[in-house]
Symmetry: C2
Subunit: 181 residues, 2 copies
Amino acid sequence: MDVNNLCLGVLCLGEASGYEIKKMFESAFSHFQAASFGSIYPALAKLTEAGLVSFREEPQEKRPNKKVFQITEPGRRQIMQKLASTEPADQYRSDFLVLMMFAHLLAPERLAEVFAQQAENLKTEIATLEKILQEGCHLTAGMRFTIEYGIAANQAIYRLMQTRKQTLLSEIKQEQDHREN
Amino acid sequence: MDVNNLCLGVLCLGEASGYEIKKMFESAFSHFQAASFGSIYPALAKLTEAGLVSFREEPQEKRPNKKVFQITEPGRRQIMQKLASTEPADQYRSDFLVLMMFAHLLAPERLAEVFAQQAENLKTEIATLEKILQEGCHLTAGMRFTIEYGIAANQAIYRLMQTRKQTLLSEIKQEQDHREN
DNA sequence: ACATACATGTAAATAGTTACATGATTTC
DNA sequence: GAAATCATGTAACTATTTACATGTATGT
């Protein structure tokens, strides 16, 4: 799903500025989608030109005027059509797993460090998601589900890492020793 | 990690042609990295020009000659340096979760279909990974771990989907009814 | 003093996919 | 007769990030 349609989706939940849309990507969306200002602002400009969103300007003091966007009827039609036709395809890109794939090329300390770092990242992510769950009274059922989904995946991985850590490190050490001989 | 360095990594495991590297991305790598011919062939050309890999040509009958690539010493140095400095950052992009995020905008049948499709995808992925684990006697410890990691994550999500399916569907139905009134 | 939040936007650069071009052989 | 496997490569296109440009207010 591209940034254009994601913006339309967000605007179905209520009007928002580009800046506010970015904040949503950083909180509720962050574990499964990303978008920067450099893609959001051009997307909103394109959507406006195409008549899929409209905006009013709220004057700000000592700041650029705030553009508050609303979705239009044609915009609503497009996102509904998009949601009806999008396949549920996932893609995962992990530099951690690339590192693990080539673990035999890493120094033991480096491997341990990478492992610890990933565990730390997972814990932080889980904590962030749990916080959103607890605080967010305004979350829809669908949103709650996406967060539970993230927590479940991260927890499973975290547990695997704990149980497999020792065996992995020693297995790799064995392989490295074997290669040296 | 970009395709250039991933190719170097693969070539650390042994010599290979572009076509064979692609096959690795489709099997052992597929759950956490992707690369198409359109990126692999130019990457190998660039690496050759930079002296990070070399190749010999194996003549084929009625086919383009096979170029079998090997990593060179400078290439090995570069990938070692890259592996030593790469942060274990992960990114996950899920159209399924986008769909769930906006589940209240989906028709109930569509929602059920998307849900079933995702469950099916997960089952297939788990089966593929388990097959690789069982067959692959030549897997390194690190590779085995990446596969176990994929299985653990997918299984956790699959289980969550089973346990939450009914409640989610009814929660969303409630929200939709609520909106209509 | 420095970072962060607020608020918009552009331009260059990056990185990749998709589709095309070629073509024999084998499997369904 | 169609699709998959083997085998290489290019070119156009897509989407996105990063860095820049501008500037105040507030918190650390």
